[in-house]
């Protein structure tokens, strides 16, 4: 009964979605308040029905109703409750339901809190949002129904893929989806603006909070996914340039560019057409990401559920929204009015530079991700494009962007003073050079490039601090004045500095772990001792431990530094009987921002076991940087100007509907 209820709720949501796709657009054209107002009610109702559908599916998982096919395939009555719940989205069907749940959530949020948005814009936004939602409801109902029943209910389920049985993976997909799907708001706003044929600075102010929320979730989602891969896959890598990772990185790059260009539009009324295009592209990249993950066109460690028939459907959705969006853009964009002028050396110019490098970097990632598909389709040759390609193309572009990063906030709007900004960054240059020198002194010439990367990271971090020092007048003004200026500073200025500081920390972590990490891959027997980078690990032996739905083999190591014991590390391997599969539980030991990493391999002849031991200097900064970036976003989101809502622009002739 419960599965049928969930199925029925989803069909009702589709019906509501179809109504919401058409009626508000007509209402907006006729300026009919009743028809436009309908969108808010249907958006809230859609969320309620999709929510009901999702709860129904979750109930099937929690009660282990194996008569439902997806529950049988992905769950097991022995699993802890948290994994029963997380297996709802640990498979294709359920994750698509989560996708539309978040989509309808954003629609409902606009309906509930978008009171300051002009009625016609709100109606059009909700209608566009509903086009997307209806298409995906259809996709789920026609190709990926999570409520399908089995004729005979099996006694026990096949278990969730063990590598997904991890607390990190319980929260990673929802966060990532909040990011992907959140960019649909920017898309809907862009399409609505194109339909209306008008756009102004206030538009950017309505779009920015939604984009910020999506960007924050995506940042955290990517960082979380990276940390999960680091500790579960057993070989200490934090980024693999896997197509699915690229699929999440591309919307992040485009979304970051969008956040920055929306600032220009909000403050200076310039870059309008470009901002609209970016909004369309960002969501398009989210859809391409969904396509890459869900269609199985690419071999990936993530392709735990795929089906080419679904791929064709998603490809259709892709062509419809990307093609449709870009066609509408080509048709309507010339209608939009040109904005303010600015010199190349100015805050606007710096943000254009940011956009140029972010989108180009995004383009290289897209090229590397899609090239294998294109080549196979054209010549039949099968290739893989891996880390070396991306390091060579994405790397230099992103480093150039980071070098320019501290200059941007120090330049004035309209016409900036590059010489002045350079002078104010003198301290940052000094600290950067010092960091280069110290890195060479400490690490020697093991890697020639890495010290320069460290210098760059310190340059950017100091630059972010200088930005705040300049704005608050620290060291120049009396402390009381500094305090009041610090309080009066817009939160978005704090957000900028914090986020820029965060990305520099991430860079520092990547360089530390990649350039100066050490490793030892050997077989050990009980009683033997290993040493790596000043640490000594004594292997005490193996023991077996039963778990709820697996049995574990755990190894016990005593770790010493300089002769004194600093702790124990107990890596283990878990064997899951339901799928005859093992997972690796690496042992991690924090040493400041660095980590010792130990994971188990196969049993070796003669009573030993293979182990992988890594020392990863500064590795924790990679994810700490991500969290700090997210906090920067949160600071910016709390900015008063975004919460209070945009002032209504005075009715100028230039802003009248240009039709």
């Amino acid at each position: 009964m419960i599965p049928e209820l969930g199925h029925y709720a989803l069909v009702l949501a589709l019906g509501l979605g179809l109504i919401q796709s058409v009626v508000p657009v007509i209402g907006a054209r006729r300026h009919d308040a009743a028809l436009m107002g309908l969108a808010s009610s249907t958006a809230l109702a859609q969320f309620a029905f999709v929510g009901l559908s999702f709860v129904a599916l979750a109930a099937c998982y929690v009660t282990s109703d194996f008569s439902v096919m997806t529950v049988f395939e992905n769950s097991n009555s022995q699993m802890p409750l948290i994994y029963k719940i997380s297996s709802v989205w640990g498979n294709h069907e359920g994750s698509m339901l989560l996708w539309v749940l978040i989509l309808s959530l954003f629609g409902a949020l606009v309906a509930a809190f978008g009171n300051n948005i002009p009625a016609t814009l709100k109606a059009n936004v909700l209608a566009v949002q509903s086009w997307i939602a209806s298409t995906f409801y259809l996709f789920i109902l026609l190709t990926s129904n999570p409520f399908l029943r089995l004729a005979q209910a099996p006694f026990e389920g096949r278990d969730l893929n063990p590598i997904l049985q991890d607390p990190g993976l319980a929260v990673h997909p929802p966060l990532l989806y909040l990011g992907y799907v959140g960019f649909s708001m920017a898309f809907s706003f862009a399409i609505a603006a194109l339909i209306e044929g008008r756009i102004d600075a206030a538009w950017a102010r309505w779009v920015r909070p939604w984009t910020l929320v999506a960007w924050m979730c995506l940042t955290l989602g990517i960082a979380g996914g990276s940390y999960w891969a680091y500790y579960t896959l057993g070989w200490g890598g934090f980024w693999f340039w896997d197509p699915v990772e690229n699929a999440s990185l591309m919307p992040w790059l485009a979304g970051t560019a969008l956040l920055h260009s929306a600032v220009v539009m909000e403050k200076r009324n310039a870059l309008k057409v470009w901002t609209i295009l970016l909004a369309i592209l960002t969501f398009s990249l989210s859809l391409i990401g969904t396509f890459l993950v869900r269609s199985g066109v690419l071999t990936s460690v993530h392709s735990f559920a795929n089906d080419p028939r679904r791929g064709v459907f998603i490809l259709g959705i892709l062509i419809m929204f990307i093609g449709g969006g870009l066609s509408l853009f080509a048709w309507r964009a010339p209608v939009l009015k040109q904005g303010g002028l600015f010199a190349p050396i100015s805050r606007e110019g710096a943000l254009v530079f940011n956009n140029l490098f972010l989108t180009t970097a995004c383009l290289t990632v897209l090229t590397g991700t899609l090239y294998p598909i294109a080549l196979e389709a054209l010549t039949g040759a099968k290739i893989s494009v891996g880390g070396p390609f991306f390091n060579l193309t994405f790397g230099p572009l992103f480093l150039a962007l980071m070098f320019a990063m501290p200059f941007g906030p120090l330049l004035a709007w309209k016409r900036g003073d590059l010489y002045g900004a350079t002078q104010r960054l003198m301290a940052a240059f000094g600290i950067g050079l010092l960091a280069i020198g110290l890195s060479f002194a400490i690490e020697g010439r093991t890697s020639v490039l890495a010290p320069f990367g460290v210098g760059l990271a310190f340059f950017v971090m100091t630059g972010a601090v200088i930005d705040l020092v300049e704005r608050t007048g620290l060291f120049r003004l009396p402390l009381a004045a500094v305090a009041s200026r610090a309080l009066g500073l817009p939160r978005s200025a704090w957000g900028t500095a914090v986020a820029h500081f965060g990305i520099a920390l991430t860079l520092l972590g990547i360089i530390g772990a990649a350039a100066w990490g050490t490793e030892k891959i050997v077989a050990v027997k009980p009683g033997e001792t290993l040493s790596l980078s000043g640490y000594e690990l004594a292997f005490n032996g193996l023991k077996r431990e039963p778990g709820p739905n697996y049995t574990a083999v755990a190894a016990d190591f005593t770790v010493r530094e300089g002769g004194s014991v600093i702790g124990v590390m107990q890596p283990s391997k878990r064997s899951f009987s339901a799928r005859e599969q093992t997972t690796n539980e690496a042992a991690l030991m924090m040493r400041g921002a660095s980590q010792l990493y130990l994971s188990l391999g196969d049993d070796e002849p003669g009573g030993g076991i293979a182990i992988r031991l890594y020392y990863k200097p500064l590795v924790l900064l990679i994810w700490a940087g991500g969290i700090i970036m997210m906090l920067g976003g949160a600071l910016s989101l709390s900015d008063r100007r975004l919460r209070v809502g945009a002032p209504r622009p005075a009715a100028k002739p230039a802003l009248a509907p240009a039709e």
């Binding site: 071999t299 590397g368 290739i383 390609f389 230099p396 891959i521 093992t582």
Partner: protein
Amino acid sequence: MTRKQRRLTLIGGSGAVLAVALGLVLYSLSGSIVFFNSPTDISEKHPGPTTRIRLGGLVKPGSIERGADLRIRFDVTDGKSDIPVQYQGVVPDLFREGQGVVAEGTLGANGVFDADTILAKHDERYMPKEVVEALKKSGRWQEDSADFAGGKR
């Protein structure tokens, strides 16, 4: 500067960045991509020891030999041809006889494939797409094994 000059500066700057990016992409594509081959491809083409390749197929049952210092030797088969592979290190958790595997490395002069990376299938349902196609090509693919291969439910 006039609006036109500013626009030209912008277009020139963007063009320069895109040109640099294009140069980087072309340069890296010529050097850092890896071609995928089945055992039959390799025994027919004999790629030189400088070409990095990915070799995909099944681990031939009974062929795994483990040596000292985590050395391992096994044969990769697509049913038609076998290629011996040697590797030093820890193999993935799901590396097993009769299962799909992808090895990345170079073909030595003695005809033994020197792998520096071993990827195994991820769970019992998933098999690398390349392995499925290699098996299809050699005629060893059976439809009932489709359940094993990738999400056909």
